[in-house]
Amino acid sequence: MLAEKDIIYRADPHRPSPARLVGVQPLAPEHALFQFRFEDPKENERWTHRPGQFVMVSVVGTGEAPISICSSPSRRGVIELCVRNTGRVTSALHRLKEGAIVGLRGPYGNGYPVEKMKGQDILIVAGGLGMAPLRSLVWYVLDNRSDFGHVSLLYGTRTPEDVLFKGEIAGLVGRGDLETHLTVDKLVEDGQPWPHDVGVVTGLFKYVKDRVDPTRAYAAVTGPPIMYRFVLRELLALGFGKDRILMSLERRMKCGIGKCSHCAVGYKYTCIHGPIFTYWDAMNLPEMI
């Protein structure tokens, strides 16, 4: 038997807390924004997170899925998740109506090292759904704008239809304190209005490369695995140190609390030591991307 002193009791970390769906907005085909508030007002008050952290979402009867928090901790009130409809949990979520109850637990993961990023230039590179965790960072940086140097956002999607948070992104494009550039792989039809670039996201680097000082900058990159390969090459060519490139990694997750081992990469747990890794850490782990 273990002595009482050897054990620290805390609330059960596997237990989801009831949260109410207070708003749903379609964002793009198969993607929607879900807004939640905990049923227990105390939990809403206590809630804090870092950009880049995630929650485990339960829809009763379907199980749990890890989803990035896409709202910024600088904007309290609701917890926002941008979810693609792909499987059991996410499709059940997409079927829910406002007022429905789900289970949430978290926040989990390390999040972006925002303290270290202070005083630095910030280059944000998003591909597709990678915009979700990065949206949290974008608003965090904008709400604490004087803490940071030059800030830019490069965002690539497949088609103009697939751009997430369209209204919000359009609003960012004109801002003087943030340099935003968009690109799509292709237009759905010729002549479609699209006053931005067409081509891969690395094609946008030409706009910002003279404005960012890689020796005092962080690059935050999130997107599909294929995107990393090209973006990393470009960032290294610009002179970014490997420990100044922050990537968000996706792994299968069951517990989110460093036990079930589904998310293990080499010696690290993505749910505890990640999901944000520097390229340097990533390089030194097997099977990283």
Binding site: I8, R10, D12, S58, G103, Y267
Partner: protein, 349 residues
């Protein structure tokens, strides 16, 4: 009390002819489970019905005692659309595990760390606190390499520990619960005499000489890293059936799956935690169908790296305790001892 009496205060002798009385006395401390032989010859921890069924000289049980702390399947919560997720009662029935070998006690100490770190898992510790552990000495066979893994001996993690010294057990008390057990059964124990100490030392010396299997732990993490692309992985991967048996029988494997199981009303049900294995193909599958460990060789590598590299960097020791169960149970005859020797090139590959 003299110094000598104090020193011998936490050791006793349990004559073997009084062993049945000892087992009966344990009932005060919970339901007793011990190794018994099944008709097919396998040893399993089972509830004790007759003392004569207990085989204290068993080589190794099929499953480790981890099943009492972290059962193959656990209902974490029940749920219903109206009530959301709510708790089933936690199992805190008092249990006495008799006949746990040092490797398995070390295995439990490793699981303690795993379920404690980052976030404490309360169900595990609820079970842990209702469990009394009575260790027992063993005779290493050709698959035991606990000595190489530094887990052949325990100085904690047990309430009582019995070492076979011929016609008696030399009893060490590890906790005040152990002391309580002794105090509650004064008639079955006698004080330690000089010749008992001699017999104990003799038994320990014989056991230390008895090891046949051995692997070298020095610089093993580095060697595994250097041999990341070795064909040893490929060859073992070709043989492996991805059956996950090695994980089930292992005292320190703790991968699990979490899922919701629906009742017949298709609305209420339970969130279930079930043993999983990193050798299963779906273990690292993610959205979009991409699998980070698609090859059987890469999954096997993951298991070895987790135990022999990752755990060492975090806890300063491997999470393998050298019990030999995965060797005995593998239907493809994959042996962790042979694997490590091949990677170290101690044997011709």
């Amino acid at each position: 009390m003299s110094k000598r009496e104090l020193r011998l205060g936490n050791v006793r002798v349990l004559p073997k002819d009084l062993f049945p009385d000892f087992v009966k006395g344990l009932a005060l401390f919970g339901k007793v489970y011990a190794p018994v032989v099944r008709p097919d010859g396998a040893h399993v921890f089972s509830p004790v019905e007759r003392v004569a069924d207990i085989d204290m000289a068993h080589p190794r049980t099929m499953l480790s005692p981890k099943k009492y702390l972290f059962p193959p399947e656990t209902e974490m919560y029940q749920f219903s659309p109206e009530k959301g997720y709510f708790d089933p009662p936690v199992d805190t029935a008092k249990t006495v595990l008799l006949g746990v070998h040092p490797c398995d006690i070390n295995g439990m100490l490793i699981l303690d760390e795993v379920f404690r770190r980052y976030y404490v898992e309360p169900r595990y510790f609820a079970r842990r606190q209702s469990l009394a552990v009575i260790g027992s000495s063993c005779e290493p066979d050709d698959k035991c390499f606990c000595k190489s893994m530094h887990s052949e001996y325990v100085d904690k993690g047990f309430d009582l520990f019995l070492t076979d010294i011929g016609d008696a057990h030399f009893v060490r008390m590890g906790t005040s619960i152990g002391d309580d057990i002794v105090a509650a059964n004064p008639a079955v124990f006698r004080p330690v005499e000089d010749e008992d100490v001699r017999a104990y030392k003799h038994a320990e010396n014989c056991r230390a000489q008895a090891y046949k299997a051995q692997v070298e732990l020095d610089s093993l993490p580095q060697i595994l890293e250097l041999e990341y692309d070795s064909r040893v992985w490929k060859e073992a991967g070709d043989k492996c059936l991805s059956c996950g048996t090695c994980s089930s029988v292992c005292p320190t494997c703790y991968c699990y799956d979490l899922f919701d199981r629906l009742n017949l009303d298709v609305a209420s049900g339970a969130r279930v935690r079930r043993w999983d294995s990193c050798l299963f193909r779906e273990h690292a599958l993610v959205a979009g169908g991409h699998n980070f460990r698609d090859g059987r060789d890469s999954r096997m590598k993951n298991r070895y790296f987790h135990k022999q590299v990752g755990f060492v960097s975090e806890f300063g020791r491997p999470s393998c305790v050298g019990c030999g169960r995965c060797i005995e149970a593998c239907p493809a005859n994959i042996s962790i001892i042979e694997m490590i020797k091949s990677l170290r090139e101690e044997v011709k590959v």
